[in-house]
């Protein structure tokens, strides 16, 4: 047992530092994707509520596509498709330049597409959970459209959308593991390398699973903090 645990040591002998570096990539990917995903999810929800038919159509198609495709396929489409698009663009502008789409960026884009498609639905049901009277009351108080959205609707929206977004962010955290397939050295990728050398798959993949679970516990804790903050104006219901 002590010998196996020694595999997690830092430095040349153990794999602790490699796994920790992979964890760093996993966490940064998660944290980098989250704001984009939430922001675009919100925009798409606004598009779905707009009076413009085209905007609604595009937003609904977007949701159907990115909720229906496997995350792995979305990742491949962005990674290889983006690569080709970039290359064509480079060929057009310069001669004989070879460009490469960064796997980390491709990961952010693909994961943000998926996250925002789901998040837009969460925002939609949050919008629906706010009675029309709120906007009407704001208007009769003389607030403009933007002010109404910012001061009256948005704070309530955050509270209502939070449980859904929390769930989605836990899913996102697990989905980051897919980038290991496009050779990004995340937690899973580095674990696989460690397994390749040490031939200890049971130990290392168990450790990886446990790290993900620990991440989920930590994220849930922060979600709880935000939840209490966002519902601080609510009367106690318990």
């Amino acid at each position: 047992m002590g010998e196996t645990l020694g595999l997690l040591a830092f430095g040349d002998k153990g794999w602790g530092d490699e796994i920790l570096a992979g964890l760093g990539v996993t966490i940064s990917l998660f944290l980098a994707t989250l704001p984009f995903g939430i922001f675009f999810g919100f925009l798409i929800a606004l598009a779905k509520r707009s009076n413009n038919r085209l905007a609604r159509l595009v937003a609904n198609a977007y949701t159907t596509i990115f909720r229906g495709l496997p995350e792995l396929l979305t990742l491949f489409i962005i990674f290889y498709g983006g690569q080709m698009l970039l290359q064509q663009l480079a060929d057009l502008l310069f001669d004989g330049v070879y460009v490469e789409l960064n796997a980390f960026v491709a990961g952010i884009i693909a994961l943000a597409f998926v996250f925002s498609a789901y998040a837009s639905e969460t925002f939609m049901s949050a919008f629906n959970g706010i009675p029309d009277g709120q906007a009407e009351a704001a208007r009769s108080l003389g607030l403009g459209r933007v002010q109404t959205l910012r001061l009256v609707i948005f704070p309530q929206l955050v509270r209502l959308a939070l449980p859904g977004l929390a769930n989605l962010s836990l899913i996102l955290q697990k989905d980051t593991s897919l980038v290991s397939i496009i050779a990004l050295p995340d937690l899973i990728r580095n674990t696989r390398i460690a397994v390749g050398v040490t031939k200890e798959p049971l130990f290392f993949f168990s450790v990886a699973c446990m790290i993900y679970i620990a991440l989920a516990v930590i994220t849930s804790y922060f979600i709880g903090v935000i939840d209490r903050w966002s519902s601080r104006g609510q009367a106690g219901r318990s």
Binding site: L73, F76, D175, V195, S206, I213
Partner: protein
């Protein structure tokens, strides 16, 4: 549109689609069977039994499916002597069975939570009424509670199947030629980006067909619950 590509790789993609459907349907059905005892354990008042089921569910829902697949697929080789002694090595030797094994355990965890939630959502009065009429615990559970629980869990079950269809794409990482696997193979031979788009269409057709039929089924099965004014 490139028809040569379609003629050459179309049938391969379709055979991959079939493998995906097999993988998903087998895992969903086996997972459903396993999920019942887990859900019952989760409902148990015994803290140890509840704790075991809770850990199981937390493990499979808290870590990525990909990590679970690697754990079993590569880990099985390490446990080969033990598995051979138990006479189940033939199963873990094949990537396909490994994937079914992992997908089944994973979906069982999710399905158990769906089942538990819907069993708990059935009104307590239903238990009490059955008891008053002299029904024993298990007949009450299977004849009164479960049918109502299953109806309220239809929607989450549909979502779980869709998630499984999408999630099954990672089987391609362990050499299985499901739709995703065939797509990757075709792409590596042709470097034609179109194969990804064809695969995307096939996945969307699968998911949307399921979603629409499921919605119709749900409407039909819950028609007695709707108020007259809703119709």
């Amino acid at each position: 549109m490139d028809f040569d590509l379609l003629i050459k790789y179309g049938p391969k993609l379709l055979s991959g689609l079939l493998v995906t459907l097999q993988l998903v349907s087998t895992s969903i059905v086996l997972g459903a069977i396993i999920s019942l005892p887990i859900a019952l354990m989760r409902l148990s008042k015994n803290r140890i039994i509840n704790g075991i089921a809770y850990s199981y569910v937390y493990f499979f829902r808290g870590s990525p499916l990909l990590a679970q697949l690697f754990l079993i697929y590569y880990g099985a080789g390490q446990m080969r002597p033990l598995l051979q002694d138990m006479g189940i090595w033939w199963m873990f030797r094949e990537a396909y069975y490994c994937a079914i094994f992992v997908f089944t355990l994973n979906t069982a965890a999710y399905q158990a939570e769906i089942l538990r939630g819907s069993i708990q959502s059935v009104d307590k009065g239903q238990w009490e009424a059955a008891q008053t009429m002299g029904m024993k615990y298990w007949p009450t559970f299977f004849k009164i509670i479960m049918p109502q629980a299953l109806i309220s869990s239809l929607r989450p079950y549909g979502n779980e199947i869709i998630l499984m269809i999408k999630g099954s794409a990672i089987a391609s990482v362990v050499t299985i030629f499901d739709l995703m696997g065939e797509t990757k193979l075709a792409f590596s031979r042709t470097f034609d980006f179109q194969v990804f788009l064809w695969a995307a269409v096939l996945y969307l057709v699968m998911v949307e067909t399921l979603r629409i039929t499921w919605e119709k089924m749900e409407r039909r099965l819950t028609r007695h619950l709707r108020q007259v004014s809703d119709q």
